[in-house]
């Protein structure tokens, strides 16, 4: 049971809002020592895994292009464009993006989205501009709330869309693991049974996005008529 010490460590670190890098180092050390690994073994295993996971950070390659385009006014242009659409509200825009992200991910097109390349330069400014167009100026807290929802729509669309595609990583992992345990399943079966949850996720999160519009409108009214 002692290897669980690392889990407690990381949970405590996040709860106390320690710097996560230090919490991770502490957790790795705690779990490793509890499992009778030597410090050198822990350091080597950690270095090996860090090296093997470099592909996770390749996405930062987009930053110079995005930065250059932002300097040339990309975010402002995205705002202008959406500001012209009369029917646009933050909630409806994010609902559309959620649907597009979910459908494209379910076709295996998971690369059509992501936070550095899509949410920060395009979706978040568009959502803010749509809210501003329908509700007028907003405070920084409300703006932050809308930006957080832009990132959430990207994540939820991706997570509950991708498993419908038969060749995605999680389907391959499930199939390989079950095959090792002597249970044969077809990828198509796995992806078909992901559809009910995908629909539920769209209904739940979509409803929340429409409620977001109502909350934003209520907030705007309260700002317009200060309490007596």
């Amino acid at each position: 049971m002692w290897p669980l010490l690392g889990v407690a460590f990381i949970a405590l670190g996040f709860a106390l809002r320690l710097n996560p890098l230090l919490a991770i180092a502490g957790a790795a050390l705690a779990s490793g020592l509890a499992a009778h690994l030597t410090p050198v073994e822990i350091l080597s295993a950690f270095g090996k895994a860090f090296n093997e996971n470099r592909y996770v950070s390749v996405v930062f390659l987009v930053l110079p292009v995005i930065g250059l385009l932002e300097r040339a006014g990309l975010q402002e242009r995205a705002r202008t464009l959406i500001g012209r659409v009369r029917a646009a509200t933050a909630g409806r825009l994010l609902l559309t993006y959620l649907l597009a992200r979910q459908v494209s991910a379910s076709l295996g097109l998971t690369a059509l989205g992501g936070h550095p390349q899509m949410v920060r330069p395009l979706i978040a400014p568009m959502a803010e501009a749509a809210a501003e167009r329908s509700l007028g100026q907003m405070d920084e807290k409300t703006r932050g709330h809308i930006r957080a929802h832009s990132a959430a729509a990207d994540n939820i669309g991706l997570f509950f869309g991708e498993d419908i595609f038969i060749a995605i990583g999680s389907i391959l992992l499930i199939r390989a693991f079950l095959a090792n345990s002597g249970v044969a399943v077809q990828p198509l079966e796995l992806s078909l049974w992901a559809i009910p949850t995908a629909i539920a996720a769209f209904l739940i999160h979509g409803a929340r996005l429409l409620l977001l519009d109502r909350r934003l409108a209520r907030g705007a009214r309260n700002r317009a008529e200060p309490a007596p």
Partner: protein, 321 residues
Amino acid sequence: MITLETVYVVAGIMFAAFAVLSAKDRTNARRFGNAAFWGLLAASFLFGSHIGDLANGVLVSGLILIGGCGFLGRGQSAEIDFAQRSASAARHGNRLFVPALIIPATALLGTLLLKNATVAGAALVDPKQVTVISLALGVVIALAVAVLWLRPRAVVPLQEGRRLIDAIGWAAVLPQMLASLGAIFALAGVGRAVGTLATQYIPLDQPLVVVAVYCVGMAAFTAVMGNAFAAFPVMTAAVGLPLIVQKFGGNPAIMASIGMLSGFCGTLVTPMAANFNIVPAALLDLDRNAVIRAQLPTATLLLPVNIILMSLLVFTFGAHR
């Protein structure tokens, strides 16, 4: 053949440039901290495959010390002001979207077309890494188009990239760090310990209780590990296969599919899934947990829906006896 290694060299050069520009930035009181941090990351990308596990471990310790002990700072950004950007946006119009959309379009087309492409009989790209390589290719094309069109000074894209990476700060290495912690957890047997706990202390003789334990366990264990892929083998070996499938005759495809999606509910609420939850918060200039707070209600509602769906479906369609 273009492999991941090629992409790593490009990324290494970019981080090395960030390090040099950081060192020269006199507006940042901690400029040498930034230079050392991005320099170490550059070294990891350029030389990581050749220096061995222990040296990589020492390198990572350096990143942890610099990032964890507050040696990173931010300079006065040379960002041009809103009025200038608006004027530029009006001048360039919708064509500004073209380079931005080249990146996902290339990633998409590359994934579809390059997988089996050959030059003189040899594979053009490593077929296992085709998505990551296509993304990098998209960046190179988009950058070339944007630079030829906008004609900035050569250093401008790198300065802008550095502005954005400094806004992310140490959170940039968090996804890789957490993946490494997952490897240590696996080595230390954390998964086995959790599986033992789940089966020893919870009454597992009711099919519906078992389904609930499996789904909640997937979500909780995913939240701890930051990754549903790490939780799935553990929970499925401990609860899913022996009880739902073998004891109660449930359908393994339904169990696995909805089980994995229950795990994704855990991904939505954990800072351990840094690339989905923490990095975007930094990119959007938000409180560290703001994205998690936006996702929490959806995850909280969707997990019980998953439990109900699995209860209804897994035994009804369980024709695998």
